[in-house]
Amino acid sequence: MDIFFQLLLNGVVIGSYYILIALGLSIIFGVLDIPHFAHGSVAMFSGYIAYIVVSSYNANIFVAIIISIIFATIIGVILEIVAYRPVANAPPINSFIIALALMMVIDNVATVIFGSNQVSIKSSSNQVFNFGSVTLSEQRLYLLLTTFILVTGLYIFMKYSKTGKAIRAVSQNKEAAQIVGINTNRISSIVFGLGSAMAGAAGAFMGILFALYPAMGGHTVMKGFAVLILGGLGSFPGTIIGGLLIGITENFGVALLSSSYKDLFAFVILIIVLVFKPSGLFGNRGL
């Protein structure tokens, strides 16, 4: 069973990717109650931008990550202002449709601009580290580190900064927050910015470790929602545990069963958890 630890490590690495996506989505969905289906598409698009910059200027992997994050943040804020804010006070189904439509627009614009072939962000960081029988590539190590940094940073921000407190206020009760003088529009933009930044990081790593292709947005965001609901909306630890759980289960599932059912695990676990605890593993905010 000496591949056990390798599988576990693989699971944690993939789980980190899911955490990046789900955490960003969690902030947006949790605070603003918007099912931002275009979240994965934002990750994809900013990943592509990073790819273009890296391949045109021979930049290195860190530049790619930063560019992707910055670009995603910008796109996220623009989407909030242009597409979501007009329907913020309309019935929820409107933001639902807008979210779906945005996903379609971004995915197809990407197809037109970039073509449907996959692209990879090549980097010279090709070292491989061996710990006994376990192998970790340099790129995967960076994913783990980045996730740790971003998650910790976000946590500290949300808990201790003034803006973080304002965000939490809005997520508890939007009208009350407005009454005490919080500019909810600004908070909405910030929330989208933060969430999309995480998506940008995820997109960069998808391109570095694997490949980007225009249709990946939909797939990514669905897993993101699964992790989110599984962990419990609005719960930091929930999302982290959820992401790791799904990453690890997928890897062990493929090892023990077959790779054809890989995508099933996330959703089956989700259903099982929901049957027993409708608010998710760590959720306490009701439905």
């Binding site: 639902f96 779906l100 945005l102």
Partner: protein, 322 residues
Amino acid sequence: MNKKRIILTLIILFSFVIPFLDIGSYNLHLVSYSLIWVILAQGLNVIQGFTGYVSIAQAGFFGIGAYSSAILSLNLGISVWLTIPLAIVISGIFGILIGYPALRTQGHYFAIVTMSFTMIIWVFMMSSVKFTGGEEGIPNIPSPSSVFGIDFSLKENYYYLILISVLITILFIYRLMQSRVGRAFITIRENEQLAQAVGISLLKYKMLSFTISAMLGGFAGALYVHYTHFVNPTPFTVDYSLNAILAVILGGSGTIIGPIIGAFIMIFLPEYLRIAEEYRLIIYAVMLILIVFYMPKGITNLIKIAYNKVLSKVARKSETKK
């Protein structure tokens, strides 16, 4: 009232005549396909439009009905006339199984949970190669056996089968929404707490609504496979569920005509936008966004508004004449 009845009767009569018009077999195919989608959309409308729960599971039920009828008729040799009703029942059973956990959630959550189910069903269809043929699917699905000498492998004849199914479905929905059950659905949509307060058992009615949607989805699926004689997992993805949702909304959520218009738009629009193939989906999505901003109640509402304006203009004219 009378005017409406006349128009309705004319439309129904017209639809019976369509195969005799020289529109070409491809266009007849599009109409048949649209009618199947009408059943799918009407089903979705029950849980989404009338009860207020947006479900992303409709493509999953479409698929369950499709594969059920295909496998029962091809592998077990059961008559298609029997497998179609069986497919409806099987879809209904899945509706109950899926509805039970799913309906413990609401709103966006419910949508995402139903989406997860569709994904599970789809992955299962793709991977169980021995059972479902996997990605390549199952070919050579039989047509319904002939009745009164009518050969249902001919597309023109099958059209009538679909048409009659659509009419039965619409009649059923109409009666359903007139009944107490239908009114309970609408009450749940409008205000769940109030519904509970007046004694409506939420879980029971939501499950009923969801199961009816599932059965109609399965009905559409069964009709579909005996028409194309071929089934594979591609039409049963989350994307298709989203298209069904769009069909219901575009046409007019919570109305009876809405899903009909929506279904035809969803099938015919891509044909007309073929010129700008690459940009088609972008145009589509942008139109959608504009519609949500400016015409949130769908095209039926638009027609209603236009109709009312015309009526009021006519009324004013006759007044000034006096």
